[in-house]
Chain length 355, copies 2
């Protein structure tokens, strides 16, 4: 069965429509838990019948969970490429799931704040998303879903190691918590490399805008824990929280330095970005993210005349390729998408200017 596209295209009531803590520097917080069913081969090794069986069992378990009640399972097999890409843009599925048309699926809450991927690398990938900086809330939501599922599913668990997973890097807690941080001032002051090297040294990973294996775009960095074995969840979250707060502190100092040494240049950079953002007739995703990054920088520096951060976030979300095509209800060439993206941005910003 297909996706409830028109419901999903509205931002109303969705997690990303809310503005969380530290929203000027932190786009979102994400927690995922990797789980597998006891006595079943991991997805990479399982036969088709076994995979179908897993989907069926998870689907049945989800029925009893209030947040997922009445939410139909989305089978990846048969789902049009554009809709899979749309789910990827929403951070509801991974690249792997988007490109794998086999026996895998997705169940997600109406507000998209919690979801379960089935038969990705593990049988279950439970996920929770929040706007802004909310590690504890995110973990609590994922854990609640985890416990509710566990009430009718038996997980593969070892007393020695903890949760068993397909890849040894997830064994133990199966937890990956990540925070998407915007650090433009550290990039502009050329301190980012040193700062991120420090982040890696304390056992955290740094990735690009769309997660593992993707480029850093628009000075957005995804910071996440690496260790899952021999460290409690609370310890991992505390460590990540501490490091992200440190990053915010460095970023804030870099901003002060920028304003002091190059206030004029920064203002020019920010306002040019707004000028292009609000006037262009062709905008690639990469350029749009770069311009949005400059405008967000201006917002953190409290420059007047800029659109609010919620609008920038929503624009970044809605102007992604699959979003544009599903809104237009037809496929588009790259140039057509660039034209549609620019049009959407001009229109949203003109509402702001008029208000």
């Amino acid at each position: 069965m297909g996706l409830p596209i028109s419901e999903m295209l509205s931002t109303e009531g969705k997690w990303f429509g809310r503005l969380g803590d530290a929203a000027d520097s932190i786009l979102s917080t994400r927690v995922r838990l990797a789980r597998n069913l006891k006595g079943m081969r991991f997805p990479g090794r399982a036969l088709e019948e076994e995979l179908s069986g897993v989907i069926h069992r998870v689907e049945n378990a989800a029925v009893a969970i209030p947040e997922l009640e009445g939410r139909p399972l989305v089978q990846m097999a048969g789902l049009p490429v554009l809709q899979r890409q749309f789910l990827l843009e929403r951070h509801l599925i991974s690249y792997d799931l988007a490109s794998n048309a086999g026996h895998c699926g997705l169940i997600f809450a109406a507000d998209e704040s919690v979801s379960v991927m089935i038969n990705e690398e593990d049988h279950l990938r439970i996920q929770s998303l929040r706007s802004g900086f909310h590690l504890d809330e995110c973990f609590a939501a994922a854990s609640r879903l985890d416990e509710q599922l566990e009430s009718s599913l038996e997980y593969a668990f070892s007393d020695d190691f903890g949760y068993l997973t397909a890849c040894p890097t997830n064994v133990g807690t199966g937890l990956r918590a990540s925070v998407l941080v915007h650090l433009p001032a550290l990039v502009l002051t050329r301190k980012i490399k040193k700062v991120l090297a420090g982040v890696s040294q304390v056992g955290l990973a740094v990735r690009g805008f769309y997660g593992e294996g993707t480029d850093v775009l628009g000075n957005f960095f995804q910071i996440s824990n690496q260790i899952t074995l021999g460290e409690k969840e609370s310890q991992a979250l505390l460590n990540l929280e501490r490091v992200v707060r440190q990053l915010l502190d460095y970023e804030s100092k870099a901003r002060d330095m920028l304003l002091k040494d190059a206030g004029r240049q920064i203002r020019d950079k920010v306002m040019r970005a707004l000028g292009v953002f609000s006037h262009a007739y062709l905008l690639s995703t990469e350029e749009a993210i770069g311009l949005a990054s400059a405008i967000r920088l201006g917002l953190t520096l409290e420059m007047p005349g800029l659109p609010p951060v919620e609008m920038i976030n929503e624009i970044l979300l809605c102007s992604q390729p699959a979003h544009l095509q599903l809104m237009a209800e037809h496929e588009m060439s790259s140039e057509e998408r660039n034209a549609a993206r620019a049009e959407l941005i001009r229109e949203r910003l003109s509402h702001h200017a008029a208000a």
Copy 2:
């Protein structure tokens, strides 16, 4: 004596405040006549007393001319560098005169449409300027001034050669007529090189924005006659007129081609230029000219939402370095000028947007 700066800073009643023929493609038309006084050494060879004598004689001759009545002679010696640069930006003096602080001077009409440089390369350089494409009017105005001056001055003239001038390239008519043409579509379609090669072949010269020896900026080209010997003034003007009309025709065809093949890209380019022009906080002269060029292109393509060509022209004029500093009444660093230029442009454009 200094310049009447505040009078000059107003564009009211000035030649460049009027919009001439073919104003979308032709910025201005200029005619200059090189003349020398009989029996006097050319400026490059003359003694100081002789140069003073020339100034004195021209000044006296000008008194009787209605257009120059009550207009004091501006002595270059002692004129602050900033004011000389201001006259250069107004096209009232040449680079040579701006950098030469010796015995030379300038008399110009209140509307700046006619002027006489004294002791530049020749004793007199009579000049006439018009907005748009007006070769005949320009030549008529310069000739009228020429005749009025000749009624009390005796020119160096040979029956064989015509007017005698310091440089052999001006001997004969002493005429240089030039037209500042905007050819963005020919540049974008990469046809400009071939077209300008054709212009050179018929004995015309192509120069940059500020005349001889300057760069081509913003797709503005100065087209002028080269031949002064053995060709009548009317023939030179006709030839120039014919070639410029041809250029306009080529430009118009190139525009049609652009719109047909790359309408979206052109619209994007034009509107981005407007976005940066109206939002930047730092703008160099070169960038401002380039952005103005793109907006002018949009105007010729009749794109909506653009400021009128008069406003663009006035901005280009007023945002030149000496203009900015005289308006601010203090000297500025390059960065301060870039900030003041951007501020002036934002302010003028916001009046347009509000209107």
